[in-house]
Amino acid sequence: MAALVRLETRLSRLREEYFLKNRSVDEDRKIVYKAAVKIQSWFRGCRVRAYLRYLNKMAISIQKWWRGYQSRRYFRKMIKTAYFIMKMNFYNEMAVRIQKRWRGYYVRKYTHNYYALKKYLEAISLNNEIVRNELQEYAEMNEKKKKKKDLEKKEKEKKYKARKMHYLLSTEQIAGIYNSPFRKFPDPMELLLRQSKPLSHRQQQPKSPFTYDLYDWPTCKRPPAFPTGEPLPPIGRQKPQGPFRDAAEVLRQRYKPLEPTLRVAASISSPLEKAREEMKREEWRKCIHDNEFLPFSSYHKNEKYELSIHASEKIGKETYGIKHFREVQPNKWIAGKNSCIS
């Protein structure tokens, strides 16, 4: 029993003790629990971190290898392009060298050919010389022509004057003004007067139309085809007395060249004739019918009907050629029927 009382007294404390023990255990348990949770969480954390680190490392490793691979590829490509560019530069340079040489050659030979230019300029100077010479000759020729014309004109004038002043010729008794006795030899005018024929009062013959100066034929390049001058008369001719025609005219007429007509001049069997005959024969051969071309179909309807000879004459046989042979016209007779005159 004592134990029970002790137990009972302890009992009242038991609940407290129990409660206190529980509380302390509870508190310990909380602390222990918290500690256990901490430890566990730390450990889990470590584990996860280790795992993550592992994953990280693996990922890095993969990426590392992959990046290395890519860069090497890229590097290889870069090298290829660099090599290619180097090659192209080299080729370009060589091509430039070739083109440089070629262009220089081409330009020097064809475009700005120095020697050709030199030759051309020499040719130009030669040509210029030739042209200058020719022009000089032409100018000189013109000058000479002009001078000649002037001289001839002067001569003509002088001669005409001499002919007009023929009366100034000196005679046996009286010395003319150009033949003064104190001179050693007569004046040239005197000689001219002696040579010239005195100018008569007869009208000058009209100028022959054939003696035009070539300058007056600006459109004609050649003079006319018939003889322009008169034929020369025979030497030592005595002019016959009487109303004869001028000998030159007669000779001209006598020796006039033959001017045959075209028909005479063309030969009998000229190729032209033969060709024409040939053509006619062809036509005759090819001709299918003799109807002329009728433009409209009703063309022949307006044709006048032509009578035949028998129908157009009077009825009966023709008497001419059988009954009588002469043509008579009685209304023209002067005398009667039986007269000879008709």
């Binding site: 300029l121 200058r132 013109n142 002009k146 459109t219």
Partner: protein, 508 residues
Amino acid sequence: MSQRQVLQVFEQYQRARTHFVQAVAELSARPQNIGTLRDAGVISLLRPLLLDVVPTIQQTAALALGRLAYFNDDLAEAVVKEDILPQLVCSLSEQNRFYKKAAAFVLRAVGKHSPQLAQAIVECGALEALVICLEDFDPGVKEGAAWALGYIARHNSELSQAVVDAGAVPLLVLCIQEPEIALKRIAASTLSDISKHSPELAQTVVDAGAIAYLAQMILNPDAKLKCQVLSALSQIAKHSVDLAELVVEAEIFPVVLTCMKDSDEYVKKNGATLIREIAKHSPELSQFIVNAGGVAAVIDCIGSCKGTVRLPGIMMLGYVAAHSENLSMAVIVSKGIPPLCTCLLEEHEDHIKAAAAWALGQIGRHTPEHARAVAETNVLGTLLSMYMDIRSSEDLQLKAKRALKNILQKCTYLPALEPLLHDAPPNIMKHIVGQFSKVLPHDSKARRLFVTSGGLKKVQEIKAEPGSLLQEYINTINNCYPEEVVRYYSPGYSEMLLERVENYQPVL
């Protein structure tokens, strides 16, 4: 009164009229009487005589009117105002050839003075009548009609177009083929007047086939005819390349070159004009002319003439040289530069000198070779003096300056450049100094010559703004020489030396 007496009165009157009209015609042949005649009212008196019954009085009255109108444009206007023209135009178609000639002469005399009078003639319908006259048999009538048409067409392109529209051109081409020289002359001159105004008119003339006949007539010995023919061809060729090529295709070369040796001055001038108008269009045409020896002929022509006759030849050389450097070298090789230099020196007219300066500039501007050829003749000094001369016209100064600039920019011939150093104004100076600065760094002999001739001294004396092109050139030149030499020649060196002498402490 008997019949005879009545008739006598009429005879007297007719005699009086004839006498009056003949006297007026003779008086009007002398220019000094024209004023008195005009004051006496001669036009209104002559007008009814144009309608006279007697043909001789009509013709003489028309002749007198023509002579009066020819000398004086007041009288020509009076002729127009008094309505004489319609009467003349009517009678042009009806009357005989003497009257036609006189009427055509009156129309020509009125039409020559001014475009308004010519317009009045066109408005009264004279062109058709004149064109009908061109078909007449008598060459004198054709000549009168062609001359009148020529004077009308001369003034401006509308009147020319009116003449062409009246159908004159084919008839004129027919007139050219006629044998009479005077008619050919007038027809050629009329064609020249028609085609000078515009390319379309020239094309009309070409379409009528005129070029072939004109080209044949160059061979004719008559000088005045050649003048007109060459003038006609040059008026046709001047408008465009195609027309010029058509003219060339008519095979005028080398015949035209003989015209350059003709004794008549105006034939030479017109021949040179024709060649110039052809050469100015394109390098191919110029090349063709050079190959035919045209340059030599023109150069000889320039050498032998004096005065305005030379001008087309000078311009032709300029045009040829302007096209390309090969052609310019061809001109130089044909000895073209000496005549141009003589032209510059001898001529008095400014426009000829300007043309010669321009031509020299065109020759020398291509390459250093060309510039050297021009500079060797010592013409640069003349050009410079012409540019500096205040009496030269503006045109001459401008052309001389341009020519000088063009030549200097390519000139490397130093002996010719040195004399210019002394006189040139600043804008020319920079070109000269520039050329020196290009040549001196490479040529030691030239450097020596430059110093001994006093050029370096002159260069030092030039004042230039720092930083300008001129200063750069001067610096380049100074860098070609050692320091002492440059200092020796710089201005004020002797003073500087003397100052140094003054400030020197003698070493005892």
